[in-house]
Symmetry: C2
């Protein structure tokens, strides 16, 4: 149905079902049909009506107050501050015009609500925005605040973008034989540059668009990138807008090997939507901006600029877990918890009207961790699963979280006893927060002596973003964080390294200490500074707690590299690796072999086919064979550039 | 190397190696670099020079006389007729400007050549064209003559087309990672609409572009067509020239399921080359023109017009078996005998400089037949074979040619004894000539009583094209044909049905007789007229000697269909099938299971991978499994729309 007809039909159904609702406008906003009304209460009292309209037109309907009703934002803010008593401890007030809501972050939410909701009702009556009160997160996130400010700044521009996206989604699907294909564009039989293309007769959806940061071949500007230049993705006839046939981009989580080249699409004027969860958007923004900054400061070529990251944010549509949304005329997307990092998603694609269902796991942890619940594996329907296999090899059995923690304790203790320092390379997002929680807990219980833990390279920033999205954390942690006194992240043992001077102090300190620093695979970042100075002292320990990809310095050191050529003050010098090297498995955000197999075997319903990706070649093949032998389902280890027809 | 540089380099090497040769021009002509000279004899005396130049610039070099030297064609023709005595029996003289040759077709070639080549030398000296004398074919082919006339007519236009093709072939290949992919576009896990796309980083080559004539769904204009609308083939941004990214089209043989939609490419302004053998071009022209004519007369929609067939011919570059040619910056093609029908080819693709080799068998007969040698399976290198599997099922073992002939004799004899008539549906090209040879031989030897054999629907035309290309036939038949007295095709038992009146006479005749008529699968053509009138008489016999595809009337009758709804004089009426239905295996132009397996097992060198196509789904899968189990090589039964990466 063309979009004009969709709007017309919504109008007709509305007129029939709710003639008394004062509807002032009906518009497209990305995947949503937004109905503006002067009578929000009518719809609050009649929730069935929206459901019925949605079912009739088969679209997601959103009711929103007519903007003319809402008080000006600055004025409304003043009103709220007047009404609410000071002891409520309001920390932030921000407006969400998309929902007609105003969010009030307060230290004592009860004091904002008032007895029997009295104050809240008063606020509502005065400003007409719908107030939502939330407990102020214990940590302030600079990124989250900047994101809100930026989105406010580009609100008008974004409205137009979303309307165009809506028009595109609502174009009629092509008739004739219907089929479903999937192409491996990157990250198949390898780790890095993840990218998968879903193609139907009508639509093309790109799932992830990662960058392999371990690869940088200056002769080939596309090295480290997925195969985006193939005609299935790149329209060579329109060099101004080569990605124009892509209906939507879906990002499963914020790591660079999944989101690192999404801004490149915008460099080439992609103007479609990017779907991800809100925490993925914020974490991705942080990591991408840092990536560009670091690369530029190191004089490396970067395939895009900061402004393209901003374009990405401008075109991002956030979805919550469990929220089903049309992203193309014949494709619906639903995100679910993946357990890997904050906001990470298992993506379920429903194609056609009951034609086919694909689940793309992204990176998954199928075990409850200190941070998240285990990855979701219950779906209404699923025929094909595309699953990661980072630890999918037949030998890849990992210790439990508990055992891993015990090993870490041992390593720290032994190094402490020798008077050495401990360096732990970590991704800013994911592993660092888990290791922080474990170390803090041991020190609090006295199982480890107290010593300072230094956080270098965006780890603190990432941690604050976790606090801003408590609904994405598991229940235990959520409670810990909001019990302010026991909030582990606020423990005084943690110190942020915020300047080069501070880093030098830490490096030359003679006290026992622990450093958590990025990058997690040692292919850049401040971790190298610590390593440079500490590597030749056998009392010190380097502890790997995460996956080290082929080609990274981390992997080579793990494999026994004894000398590393680095530079010091611009001059090349050779670092001798005399420090103790430890690898502690079990902290990974990836499922081990057993968990991957269990994820599939306990999936409900059972998939017909599993495509293995995101693992070294032998692991992909081994897991594919293993699953096929044990469960009889069709399995395949696609190669990059291959296309399989699912239906 | 850009094409300008190629020409420059040829010029430089020529100047160095052959400064005395009077070179007047160097130009591109499709895959060739053509060097025009005033001194043909110099090059005739120094054949090594061309070889050296070719090796240096890595291009095929062609030496041609400067046109200003050659006598005007009409005048030259008169000169030849003056010089050659009448008893030579000159039947045709035609000029080939591409080679600077004049071909003299004569009944007594010796009389044209003269004692010690005296006359020939004289001709050459006078007209400057290089005379080539060939024995006049015993049958005149209308199609072959028309083809020569047409090519002469469009010679100038063609020169420009070939120059542009040459420029495109000589563009520099893209740098960076090199890979090879193959896409199944049609005819995979099915028979009909064969189409395969070879993709490299630089180039795209379409091998076959067939039409499934058994499918005609009016709701879907692309029914019966390969999946040409996918972005790998079709550039949606340029609706004027959507096929512009295709570097070359290769046609393996003239049947409609392989060439039927090549003209469609020209309807959409494709302007690249089409490579095939000369007999494939002539047969394809005949079959395509007939297809359009018949379809139009039946009021069916045809996806293109006659003028697009002409465009195809204009863009066709013919290759001989064993002639290696650049068809893209990084792809070289060599055709070899496939044994299936006249001019049918096994295509060998050499990609990059030693990067990869693919063999696409097209349809193959791996057994010497009455017409052709067994399919070629010796190559310099081959990693992947894409092979047909029409009779690839585990039960598909066929009798030998000899046994098949004996069975045919029995069936004819029994029907003759009952006083019935025999109807044999055949493809015009391939089976009909074999059946003619067998029947003629039995009647000549007295093993069958003499009775008239009527040829309806282009069988005669097709037969004459065989006589025009004796070098494509096996040696025995070639000798038979040229021993005029015994030429089986000239036997008086054969009668052409050239008019509706004649057909009606044959239909109502009460004498014993045999009809060979198209179409071979009874999905149209004059065979239906005979069937309509003869089907209800149990004395008559319908004999299938070729493959009947799923969905065709032939297949349904073979499966026991007892009533067929047809039309007679525009009115629907029901034909009761009472006639005797016989299927004689062993005449097929396709290899049976044993021959397919032998073709691969005796291939030299052994391929690493075999992709199975052109067979019903279960046959493709069964053959893939069988070959893998027996020889351990990787095998796959791709689905249409799938892409596999070979390297």
């Amino acid at each position: 149905m063309p979009w004009e007809d969709v709007l017309k039909q919504v109008r007709e159904v509305m007129d029939e079902l709710a003639p008394q609702a004062e509807i002032t406008n009906i518009d497209l906003e990305g995947p949503l049909v937004v109905v503006y009304t002067r009578d929000m209460e009518f719809f609050a009292d009649h929730p069935d009506i929206i459901k019925k309209v949605a079912q009739t037109v088969r679209r997601r309907i959103f009711i929103r107050p007519d903007p003319s009703l809402l008080m000006d934002e600055a004025q409304a803010k003043d009103e709220i501050l007047n009404i609410v008593p000071e002891e409520a401890g309001i920390r932030d007030i921000y407006f969400v015009p998309e929902t007609g809501e105003v969010v009030i972050e307060a230290e004592s939410p009860g004091a904002v609500i008032g007895k029997d909701g009295q104050l809240l009702n008063e606020i509502k009556k005065r400003i007409r925005w719908a107030p939502r009160v939330v407990r102020a997160p214990p940590l302030e996130s600079r990124i989250v605040k900047e994101m809100r400010a930026y989105l406010k700044l580009v609100r008008e521009e974004r409205r137009e973008i979303l309307r165009n996206i809506g028009k595109r989604i609502n174009r009629p699907p092509l008739s004739g034989e219907q089929w479903v294909r999937v192409e491996a564009l990157g990250g198949y039989r390898e780790v890095g540059r993840s990218a998968t293309l879903i193609m139907t007769r009508t639509s093309r959806v790109l799932v992830d668009c990662g960058l392999n940061v371990a690869v940088s071949d200056k002769a080939d500007p596309w090295s480290g990138a997925p195969y985006l230049y193939v005609p299935e993705v790149w329209d060579a006839s329109d060099p101004e807008k080569p990605f124009k046939h892509i209906d939507a981009v879906v990002v499963t989580h914020a790591h660079l090997d999944h989101v690192g080249l999404v801004p490149l699409l915008f460099k080439y004027n992609y103007d479609g939507p990017v779907y991800m969860t809100a925490p993925t958007r914020d974490l991705a923004a942080m990591l991408l901006i840092d990536y560009v900054k670091v690369a530029q400061s190191e004089g490396k070529k970067v395939p895009y600029e900061s402004k393209h990251i901003k374009e990405m944010i401008k075109h991002t549509i956030t979805l919550k877990y469990g929220e089903t949304t049309d992203i193309a005329p014949d494709i619906r997307l639903t995100f679910h918890n993946a357990g890997h990092i904050l906001g990470s998603s298992v993506s379920h694609f429903h194609i056609g009207e009951g034609l086919y269902n694909i689940v793309i796991t992204g990176d998954i942890k199928y075990e409850r961790s200190w941070l998240f619940n285990a990855a979701h594996n219950r779906f209404p329907r699923v025929e094909t699963v595309i699953m990661e296999s980072t630890y999918g090899g037949r030998e890849d059995f990992q210790p439990s979280r508990r055992e891993a923690a015990e090993r870490l304790k041992d390593v720290v203790m032994r190094t402490y006893d020798k008077g050495g320092k401990i360096l732990i390379p970590v991704f800013a997002v994911g592993r660092s927060q888990e290791v922080m929680l474990v170390l803090e807990s041991f020190m609090r219980n006295g199982e480890l002596p107290e010593m300072p833990i230094y956080l270098d390279g965006m780890i603190w920033e990432a941690t604050t973003i976790h606090a801003a999205y408590p609904e994405y954390l598991n229940k235990d942690l959520r409670e810990l964080i909001f019990q302010k006194k026991e909030n582990p992240f606020l423990s005084p043992i943690f110190h942020r390294v915020e300047s080069v001077e501070r880093r030098e102090e830490v490096i030359s300190s003679s006290d026992p200490l622990i450093v958590l620093s990025t990058s997690g695979m040692m292919n850049g970042g401040p971790v190298l500074e610590y390593f440079k100075h500490w590597a030749d002292d056998p009392r010190n320990t380097l502890v790997f707690v995460g996956y080290q990809a082929v080609g990274t310095l981390g992997r080579r050191i793990q494999n026994g590299l004894k000398e590393v050529l680095m530079s010091l003050g611009g001059k090349p010098f050779t670092v001798k690796v005399e420090m103790n090297i430890e690898t502690i498995d079990g902290f990974s955000g990836h499922s081990d072999r057993r968990q991957l197999v269990q994820y599939i075997s306990s999936m409900n319903p059972k998939p017909e086919r599993v495509i293995i990706c995101h693992g070294e070649e032998n692991k992909c093949i081994d897991l594919a064979i293993g699953l096929h032998k044990r469960y009889g389902m069709e399995t395949m280890a696609l190669k990059n550039l291959e296309v399989v027809r699912l239906r």
